[in-house]
Amino acid sequence: MNERKIGGVILSVQNISLAFGGVKALTDISFDVREHEVRAIIGPNGAGKSSMLNVINGVYRAQQGQITYRGQVRKDMDTHQAAEQGIARTFQNIALFKGMTVLDNVMTGRNLKMKSNFLMQALWWGPAQREEMEQRRKAEEIIDFLEIQRIRKTPVSRLPYGLQKRVELARALAAEPKVLLLDEPMAGMNVEEKQDMCRFILSVNEQFGTTIVLIEHDMGVVMDISDRVVVLDYGKKIGDGTPDEVRNNQEVIDAYLGIAH
């Protein structure tokens, strides 16, 4: 599809099980993600896709299994740690800071890159201000990249849904992540918006070399942009492979189309 060089395994989850009380959300899931690839997680509603992302960035703690990220094995992640080590994400139901402008939202993504602390800012020291300007320039670059310059100063709550999704992507990108987790980046979009979003996801992947793990419902989109696909159903892994392999997997077809009884 394109000329990216896919590297070694950057993230792998091994035998992850997660339950909420008696409800099993994930059962013994294992898969890996290679550097620079676009990896999709698909499956019917309630298959455990979002839970999987939430385990990867530490929102949920899995009861069993482990995660290996950049060679380091751990029982579970911690959200702050995950962010510090280069995992950024977007949410299924947009989780932007609604009262803040697009620029401010993107700037929060650079929070971890800023070193000056509260006291320095309170005393209005020069370095703190210089840093603010420098980070601001980086934020503007990302805003340009995603073509949202026009709405930089607009409060996010006033933007249409499709643009909000793009702002959320911008905020995640602002952290210059190694791995970007996208939870249904195209849900609820029309065809044009979906095309735009696909284009952005692919150019992020190509230009920054960011590894992308995405959840998506639209099969056409998934098959077009991903290198490899994991299929979940009722919290279990039922398929894993290239889009073509997955498309021809009988279990996957059954899960999506139902089985004749």
Partner: protein
């Protein structure tokens, strides 16, 4: 003295008091914004701060050193409350958190009196509660030096915090945390450090409020009730808005003085103490989210 001069005098006195209400209310807003905790103990913190400052001065420590020490004590108290009382309660119902802060109120008030005694004391800021001659000579309006000084200090602190929380990294982080916890965590904003900072700043605000009110009306238990005046200010201004509490503080201060002066004599006086609450109730009926609060939209 013309009636216009009298009106101006009452209005100015009211506005000057109002800024100090804003200052007290700001302590509430900071914490409520960042963590949805209505810190009932803010009034007790004001009292505790003023008593500690006076207590240290009475030990023979020079004023500036005592002030620095008290700043330290209040910042530690604020951060300590966050760490040892509220952090274990994180994710509990708002009502649980409120009850915890009500409990704290009694602990802090008791502690303050246990350590420093229950006598009424004075803080001497070196500025007298007498009219400013220059203004009195030129316009015939009496403006208290102390009131003006207190208002300038309170105004400067409120303005500094407002700028700090709107134009810096920490300010952005604070607003982000207030908006969406999960999203804030995902971009690596350290939630607990932000809460610590907010409580520390609330302690500092309590100290400045305690010092100014203490200089004006003596350091005594009644300071706790001054903090209660922050309630109508919050209701009118909106619980989450810094500009809101500034404007509402001015409204409360000015309107209570004006009501006291013009309506008071007709009903036997004492309006000042309850008028702001009536105003707050009117606001609750007409505009429950406050002047600048986030609009409450209900979908059916």
């Amino acid at each position: 003295m013309s009636s216009l001069q009298v009106f101006a005098e009452v209005l100015i006195a009211g506005l000057l008091t109002g800024i100090m209400y804003s200052l007290v209310a700001l302590g509430f807003v900071l914490i409520y914004k960042a963590s949805s905790v209505f810190n009932f103990a803010q009034g007790a913190m004001v009292f505790f701060a003023a008593l500690t400052l006076v207590g240290i001065i009475e030990l023979g420590v020079p004023f500036w050193l005592a002030l620095l020490l008290t700043i330290g004590v209040m910042v530690l108290l604020g951060m300590g409350i966050e760490k040892f009382v509220l952090r274990p309660l994180v994710n509990q119902h708002e009502i649980t958190l409120l009850m915890a802060t009500i409990g704290l109120t009694f602990v802090i008030e008791g502690l303050a009196q246990l350590v420093w005694g229950t006598d009424v004391r004075r803080i001497d800021l070196g500025i007298k509660d007498i009219p400013i001659e220059f203004i009195a000579d030129n316009t015939g309006i009496l403006v208290s030096q102390l009131d003006l000084f207190a208002a300038v200090v309170a105004g400067a602190l409120v303005a500094t915090l407002a700028v700090l929380f709107s134009h810096t990294k920490v300010g952005r982080a604070l607003r982000a945390v207030a908006d969406d916890h999960a999203a804030a965590l995902s971009v690596g904003i350290p939630l607990q450090r932000i809460w610590g900072i907010v409580w520390g700043v609330a302690g500092l605000v309590a100290l400045v409020a305690g010092m100014l009110w203490g200089a004006r009306s003596g350091v005594q238990f009644a300071l706790v009730f001054v903090a209660l005046k922050a309630l109508p200010v919050l209701i009118i201004g909106g619980f989450t808005s810094v500009p809101g509490v500034i404007v509402a503080g001015l409204i409360v201060g000015a309107s209570e003085k004006i009501a006291e002066f013009y309506v008071g004599p007709m009903v036997g006086g004492g309006i000042e103490t309850w008028f702001p609450y009536v105003l707050a109730i009117l606001f609750l009926l007409v505009r429950p989210e406050g002047l600048y609060g986030e609009k409450i939209i209900r979908r059916v």
